[in-house]
């Protein structure tokens, strides 16, 4: 092992700098390292004290340094932001990492009314710090792994030793160890079963939620370079819980949770139920309601099912567009959505106003849940109910309900039942 391999590397990585003073080579990536640290703590002592051999070099006070014996370590340290000091055939690495991440800021994806505002960042150490700040216990254990044959992403598995189920920890531990992947983006798809539409995990950026879940005995997985932290296992009822519930009066929160459950059922069932009632089981509606519906459908050329599908697809396109477009364009999007597609479609006689109400109420209801995985699985079930309702009427809605509940009951969240109330 000598300096030549690094010099060769320099041709393909122009940001790799090699500085030579008194036959000491100092090698670092200027994009990863803090140049002030290198000046103050490496270059200055070497020049001032006129250091030229190894025994003198290791007397320089470094915070975090280690000797390097093989090529693999050399590259790992170099790419992790260490500065390598080479004297003759000896290599040592000292940490001069430049923090390449955003500072702790407000949670942007999960809005809450009450509670702390801080959120996880892309920095692995920061994230563990944010949790340690909340749980000052020696029982908080961190297992560290490196996942990804190319990315070498640091993954931390956190659990409370005295609360957590050891079998579960072992299960997750083997799962993480068995991950065979080049580049790790997010760990949820690698350890959770993919065939379930409802999520058996929570991805969150709120440290208070993570700490709360740890206290309940759940496992938390922090991935480097990802501000979303994974909580496993989670259950069906967790969909209806939000961390800011704990900062509020519990009687009021009970009502809020009931409303969430109503909204959940509304968003799944309403479009299918509306079509079932108006095309198959008209006798179940009150007469005046039926007359109003009938009046609004007058002149609409399509069957109700096609009408609902058109409107639903339009809405999903608008939603997807709204999440992708930059904030500045967002307001013009909503004008197009609300006015052009809503009002004009009704006036053109393509869609009945009541159908807009039905699709809108069901879509708005699904936005009570800030987890996108929940919103998307609601979308799938909405479509199932819509198809069942439009082909077989109320009978189909009952079949759908049975299907829905059997599905929910048959999901396994790791080794637990999905309908478990609490861990």
């Amino acid at each position: 092992m000598n300096i030549d391999i690094l010099k060769k590397l320099q041709k393909e990585a122009p940001d790799l700098k090699i500085r030579t003073i008194n036959n000491i080579n100092i090698i670092f990536f200027e994009t990863l390292c803090n140049s002030n640290d290198i000046n103050d703590f490496i270059l200055k002592p070497i020049v001032m004290n006129n250091i030229n051999d190894y025994s003198k070099l290791i007397k320089i006070p470094f915070g975090n340094y280690k000797e390097i014996n093989n090529e693999k370590d050399l590259f790992f340290c170099l790419y992790s932001g260490f500065t390598i000091i080479n004297i003759k055939n000896k290599f040592i690495a000292c940490e001069t990492k430049y923090p390449l991440n955003s500072s702790i800021s407000e949670a942007t994806n999960e809005k809450v009314v009450k509670g702390p505002k801080d959120a996880f960042t892309e920095n692995y150490q920061n994230n563990i710090g944010l949790i340690r700040k909340r749980i000052r216990s020696k029982d908080l254990k961190v297992n560290e792994y490196v996942v990804g044959s190319e990315s070498k992403t640091k993954v931390g598995l956190l659990y409370l030793d005295n609360v957590c189920d050891k079998d579960l920890v072992n299960e997750i531990d083997t799962k993480i160890k068995n991950i065979d992947i080049d580049y790790l983006l997010s760990i949820n798809n690698n350890i959770c079963k993919k065939s379930y539409t409802f999520p058996t995990y929570i991805m969150t950026e709120r440290p208070d939620l993570v700490s709360f879940m740890l206290m309940e005995g759940r496992i938390v997985i922090i991935t480097e370079n990802n501000q979303e932290v994974l909580i496993i296992p989670t259950f069906f009822i967790d969909i209806f819980k939000s961390i800011d519930d704990h900062y509020q009066n519990r009687i009021n929160v009970t009502i809020t949770r009931i409303i969430r459950i109503i909204a959940f059922l509304t968003s799944i069932i309403v479009p299918g139920l509306y079509i079932a009632l108006t095309t198959f089981n008209q006798e179940t509606l009150p007469t005046s309601v039926l007359i109003n519906f009938s009046m609004q459908r007058e002149g609409v050329p399509f069957p109700s099912f096609i009408e609902a599908i058109i409107l639903w697809v339009t809405f999903e396109i608008l939603r997807e567009a709204d999440t992708r477009v930059p904030f500045v364009v967002g307001s013009s999007m909503s004008i197009v959505g609300a006015l052009v597609l809503g009002q004009a479609a009704v006036e053109a006689g393509l869609i009945s106003p009541i159908m807009i109400i039905v699709i809108a109420i069901s879509s708005v209801s699904s936005f009570l849940f800030n987890d996108n995985d929940v919103v998307n699985s609601i979308r799938i079930w909405k479509l199932i109910f819509l198809i069942l309702g439009s082909f077989t009427g109320l009978y189909g809605i009952f079949i759908g309900t049975v299907l829905f509940f059997t599905r929910i009951c048959s999901i396994k969240s790791f080794s637990y039942d999905y309908i478990k109330e609490k861990l």
């Binding site: 108006t278 095309t279 198959f280 008209q282 006798e283 007469t287 005046s288 039926l290 007359i291 109003n292 519906f293 009938s294 009046m295 609004q296 459908r297 007058e298 002149g299 609409v300 069957p303 109700s304 198809i387 069942l388 082909f391 077989t392 009427g393 009978y395 189909g396 079949i399 299907l403």
Partner: protein, 372 residues
Amino acid sequence: MKKILIIILIIFLTGCYNYKELNKIGIVSSISIDKEDNKYIVGAQVMNIKNEDTDSSKVIVYTEEGNTIEEALRNMTNKADKKLFGGHLSKLVISEEVAKDSIIDVIDLFQRLPEIKTEFNITISKNIKAVDVIKVMTSGGTIPADFVKNEIDSAYLDSALTYSSKLDEFVSFYLKDYIDPVVSVIEVENFNDEGTSLDNTKTTDPDTKIVLSNIGITSNGKLERYLNEEETIGYNLVRNNINELIVPIKCGDNYASISIIKSETKYDVNKNKIKIDINSNGNLNEYNCNKDINEDTIKELESKTEDKLKEYIDKVLKVQDSSKSEFLGLKRLIYLEYPDYNNEEYKLYINTNVNISRKGELDNSIKGEKNE
């Protein structure tokens, strides 16, 4: 894969049975039944639903004849542009003639069809063809048929002047022993062609009106006779159907009126003796008598009200005595207690008890207050 296949089969094997779009169905709100030359003449009042506020009538009446009611309804498809849908039928009007022949024959269809609610009103059209009743244009509400339904409900609940007879109750009373159902009776005041046009709804005093005319009693599924106002109140008192009732009381030359707001009828059956206890609570709502209101006058009013209620009941009992119909269901009370009862004579004791709990702000009539 098997599961998915089963689910797909469940959906598509039904072949969209019973599928009908909302704008393709004609909602039938009322049906009328007359008879001519041994053939039923059936009229269907179908809602004419329009998106815009047009001058057109809210309902269209189709009439057709047939040997059965369904045949007549079938023949209507020649005239109607939409499939007739009976799920929202709110009243059935049967002409006097048909009702005297047999009500039960007529309603079989409505009891049998699954889509029809069994909660519509059964009414008899008195002195007029049934089809003319459903042709009358009434004001108010988006649903013209609801006019009669609301009329019956308010008359029944607020003043006990009629009884709201629904299909399922009618059939179940007919099938039970020792009790016969009753029906509401409708009359039309001043029926003419203008009454069927929109003009009838444009004035404050429509020329042609639908008027309720108390109830008719049936025996063996046939209309037997009509009851008048007082007899109807008596019927509702005995059958424990009172929700609210206004009782006028004579005092000297003037009148007072008591409004009964709560009334409960209790039966006590002992062998062949039936004791009917009526406990009522009432308010003094109108008072034009000369005497001051004090405990004595209140007591007097109470006893007079009790007598009046007894009078109502006596009148209806007289009808019961002279009729074959068991519309009061008194024999059924004995039958329920003693199942081996076989149509023997029974004795009836009536006891009424009225309690006036509120008399209003004035201690005297307004006239009397001034004279003091």
